[in-house]
């Protein structure tokens, strides 16, 4: 099998916050009835996490699960284990109406790290990123400049952004522009 590479091969930029393409990440779209017992069991088996509440990210021993819409979850695991996770999910959901799709190679992941990481995103997305409004365990699907993206907090001064692989260069460029020294807003810390 050919060697998998991420969209921008780990591109990095250091401004007042750093922007890094994190490399390959296992991502699986799961659609179905999120309230069903089969879904709870499948997510538990695949990641060790519970099915997250609306707009939340649940973290388990083997991966993360993010709430994407009332009938969709995103399972995030290591790239190396993604095929096994897909098999686990498919086996657990086989009885009902559900979809499990490996979308790892259709996505790119960026990390924004640094004191001004909230400002970097706040300049590009129509989202209130203030500490009191954007919860630590929240995922937000929105747009970044002109393309769809989603992000969540990983640490107090770090965010992860996911977007479609086809727009990875665009997203990296706008994040880089937003994080350029001299562009600090000092509004969100």
């Amino acid at each position: 099998m050919s060697e998998a590479v991420s969209a921008l091969s780990g591109a990095e930029f250091k401004g007042f916050a750093s922007v890094t393409e994190t490399g390959l990440r296992g991502m699986i779209t799961v659609r179905g009835d999120l309230a069903s017992k089969a879904m709870t069991a499948a997510i538990k088996a695949a990641t060790g996490a519970d099915v997250p509440a609306q707009r939340k990210v649940a973290v388990g021993g083997k991966g993360k699960v993010a709430w994407m819409s009332p009938d969709e979850l995103l399972v995030v695991v290591d790239y190396a284990t993604v095929l096994d996770t897909v098999a686990t999910l498919n086996a657990a959901l086989s009885g009902g109406h559900a979809l499990v799709a490996n979308v790892s190679d259709a996505r790119a992941v960026f990390e924004i790290r640094g004191v001004g990481c909230r400002d970097v995103l706040a300049k590009l997305a129509p989202v209130d990123l203030s500490h009191s409004r954007f919860a630590a365990d929240e995922i937000r699907r929105t747009r970044i400049a002109q393309v769809p993206a989603a992000f969540w907090q990983t640490e107090s001064d770090a965010f992860e952004v996911i977007c479609f692989r086809s727009v990875a260069q665009y997203v990296f460029d706008v994040l880089r522009l937003s994080a350029t020294k001299g562009g600090e807003v000092h509004h969100l810390g």
Partner: protein, 109 residues
């Protein structure tokens, strides 16, 4: 700038995260239907000054279609509600009645 709350994901999304999808509560007339009905389904739209019901899609968010009730003159939003319905919910109608007594929009009032 409009800010609407998506009833599916609860996000207060501003206009640029959404996509306007035209008028709400259209009744479809397909093949075999009366020519006049089909024409009205295809082309005839409300263009009110005041209370209006629209369909929106949370395009950059959860991707779901929903309905919104608002005033085209003041941009006041009376509420948003699920698209899986045939008429606006009572609480939204009551809210509009409080502000615009005697309002009507297509078959609703």
């Amino acid at each position: 700038m409009l800010t609407l709350q998506c009833p599916y994901c609860g996000v207060w999304a501003e206009e640029t995260e959404l996509h306007a999808e035209g008028e709400a509560h259209l009744k479809r007339f397909g093949p075999e239907s009366d020519d006049a009905d089909f024409e009205s389904y295809l082309f005839m739209r409300e263009n009110p000054k005041g209370v209006h019901f629209e369909r929106w899609r949370h395009a950059s968010g959860c991707g779901k279609f929903f309905h919104a009730a608002r005033s085209t003159t003041t941009l006041e939003v009376f509420g948003t509600y699920s698209a899986q319905t045939l008429e606006p919910p009572k609480d939204i109608k009551d809210k509009i009645s409080a502000k615009y007594p005697g309002w009507s929009w297509r078959e609703f009032s």
